[in-house]
Symmetry: C2
Subunit: 446 residues, 2 copies
């Protein structure tokens, strides 16, 4: 049997894991310093929890798990004979795989509310699953890295999340721009242009502006029957205005609230020294319908890539689980895209590529036990090192050491063993050095 | 809607994740020092890869994922109308969730063989899923931590894995005994007792010895029709003999090979100073049928708990995926049981319990921005610290700080702000101290 992977999934090689963990470790360290406590939820959730939370399209993309045992036994005869997949499904599947980290977090908050203190700040780095059509760079299993604050409406939360973004991308040495907008501002503008009743649709269209441009978008909106005057008005208001220009217009209360909050957030952010710029972007819309306040997005500078992070405020995180009135705000890091960008720009440290620093090669079967003893002492002392575990020709072993990218090789033959020494060889320069077996660690620097 | 979790799954609270990560970090550090490179495989595997690898019972416990879209469309009419779950299943589900880390590793080796050098040492810490009946301490989603060496028959591998166990349990401060046996020795003994044709059954029965005791096991074997003389002989051979006693008997070639290999492994292990004892245990059988060489198991000292780790050598890891002749040996850490034992014995460091070291509380809304600035500087400097993000009564904030277990509170009112200071309060002793805002980090020690 020739093995294969399900489409849209992949294996990770060691160097890929080391690089991915380099990103995760930097994100995790920032989560820790900023007080976002780690939580975990199971990969499997009840379909009741997941269904209806991501729109019709999302429901289709959920992976559903067949009930164990004789899963057909409780299906009523008439439904079975009708043979409709969508009607049979809820009767034979009670569980699904997590689709994002936000809905499970809302469920978590409700179910664990007695053990949590609000405001509660959580972080999570976990895979999610979506039955999307696989494409280059789009997988059916991928990681999300989320930070959320639940239980406070304070705008300091937005500022903190901006700084969290800034801190992570500074540590990754990846220059970015952090873009802000406000759902209420957007809503106010759209209302002012007489399109209030089609808010979601217009927000969705504005979300496509960076792909379509104003001209195409205008044509599309015209074709959808929007009033040309309204479109013109809308484009004037979202095309490069500053917050203070918008403020002078004082269109309506929604716009006013949006501007006030954005001004405060931008003002606070400008006072702490950030590495990256934070800008107001009136064309930022973000697709997800549950955002109600500030929305934000991160874009890498000088890169041909969509957003590598995004988030926003939602007024009612847990309402659909029976606990209304808990506001929240959260952000997410797009780990896969960050990985691809880091690779493209050569930002991963060199040492992540190599299999290790030092490998021992025994030139004689009799030396193996001696070599093994040294190895164990070094590992106890905290040094990561390796060992070729069986007698082999020197050429074979050297080529193994070379292919795996070790920096140094420690050669041990009978001469070395009898003198309690090893011969260290620098694999880059070819330089060799005879070293006492107890002084190896201090000699890995030539 | 009242939310719930699928049975057999659970949420992790922050303190639980911190404790679990404490264990994982120690295991991961040892994996790194010992040269076991991290890999990852997807949660979803083709059912073709998984089915038939874990016995009939295992096949039943696999979680299967329904094909997306109109999953009934390709089911032939006659099969559909027969309405048999087991016949319908393979037609509507192509994928399943990973059941362990070994079978995916074998598939991984075959599919990635051109990018890997043998011997290849891998590590993996990932969840697995089994539709077992949930019990106290037994979940349907749990973590496995595995280290394996593929592509060498060297017994140094077994020694290294013993030392890896020793190193991890020493770092966890959890005293253990590492027990060894050998499948060939067991096989030779069972053959010698005239039960060779029922080897798997007898090995399975011996595996239950620690639960049943010799008397009950003898009765059970008698009831199953084993010859009383053979049973007596078997019990004599597996009841507390030393390797040298067994050696003198020189029963057959299998026994001889087993004894030779075990002697070598025990001898090598005794030469490197271990923290824990390694003993020969002729009653150790281990259930999994694919083991062919040395088998090992770890048991905590002074604990009423089954094994907290186990593994062994398998001659043909990848044969079922079309790549025969690759030997392997691997071990696994039982993370859940280790967690429970550490909790029971109070071995987790205290600081894992608390939400953090320092939280800032603003006594006045006007001070929040000042406080926020200090906080950001500290975080930039690497200190993890927190902030109550909205104006609130001091009692409410103090109780929040207390409930979350912070060591210190930094109080900031107008007086503090005007003097560029904060008041630090030790939450255990109640002691207070006025400190310059730039000297907070150095003052968290009273």
């Amino acid at each position: 049997m020739k093995p294969s992977l399900p489409k849209g999934t992949r294996d990770y090689l060691p160097a890929e894991i080391r690089k991915r963990n380099y990103i995760f470790d930097i994100i995790r360290d920032a989560f820790h310093r900023f007080g976002y406590e780690p939580i975990e939820t199971p990969a499997m959730e009840s379909l009741q929890t997941l269904t209806g939370k991501y729109g019709d399209e999302g429901d289709k993309l959920l992976f559903k798990i067949i009930n164990n045992g004789d899963f057909l036994s409780d299906v009523p005869e008439d439904i079975y004979l009708a043979r409709e997949s969508k009607d049979l499904l809820p009767l034979i599947a009670k569980r699904g795989l997590r689709y994002d980290l936000t809905v499970p977090f809302a469920r978590y908050l409700v179910m664990n509310r007695n053990q949590l203190k609000l405001p509660f700040k959580r972080s999570a780095i976990q895979p999610v699953w979506r039955a999307d059509r696989p494409q280059r760079g789009r997988y059916q299993e991928f990681y999300q890295c989320d930070a959320d604050i639940a239980g406070t409406a304070s705008l300091y939360s937005e500022c903190e999340l901006i700084q969290l973004y800034d801190s992570v991308f500074a540590a990754l040495k990846l220059p970015v721009q952090i873009r802000l907008n406000h759902r209420k501002l957007l809503q106010g503008i759209i209302q002012h242009c007489g399109m209030g009743e089609r808010f979601s649709e217009v927000a969705g269209l504005i979300d496509k502006l960076d792909k379509m441009g104003f001209e195409k978008l205008g044509a599309e909106m015209g074709a959808r029957g929007f009033d040309p005057k309204g479109i013109k008005n809308l484009f004037r208001l979202i095309q490069d205005p500053t917050l203070s220009e918008l403020k002078q217009d004082s269109l309506n209360e929604l716009v006013k609230t949006g501007i006030e909050e954005l001004t405060l957030i931008l003002d606070l952010s400008s006072r702490v020294g950030l590495h990256n710029s934070v800008v107001f972007d009136p064309t930022l819309a973000r697709g997800l319908s549950y955002y109600t306040g500030c929305i934000l997005e991160v874009v890498a500078i000088d890169a041909n890539m969509g957003s590598i992070g995004g988030g926003g405020r939602y007024d009612d995180l847990t309402g659909s689980f029976g606990m209304p009135g808990i506001p929240g705000v959260g952000i997410s890091f797009g780990a896969e895209r960050i990985y691809d960008l880091m690779e493209e720009k050569g930002l991963f440290p060199d040492h992540l590529q190599s299999g290790g620093k030092l490998i021992f090669l025994s030139l004689d079967a009799e030396c193996m036990s001696y070599t093994f003893g040294i190895l164990m002492d070094l590992r106890k002392g905290g040094l990561a090192c390796e060992f070729y575990p069986e007698p082999a020709k020197i050429n074979k072993m050297m080529s193994y050491a070379n292919d795996r990218g070790f920096d140094y090789v420690a050669l041990v033959g009978l001469d070395e063993m009898n003198a309690s020494k090893v011969t260290l060889k620098n694999m880059k320069t070819g330089e060799q050095k005879s070293v006492n077996s107890t002084e190896i660690k201090d000699n890995l620097n030539f």
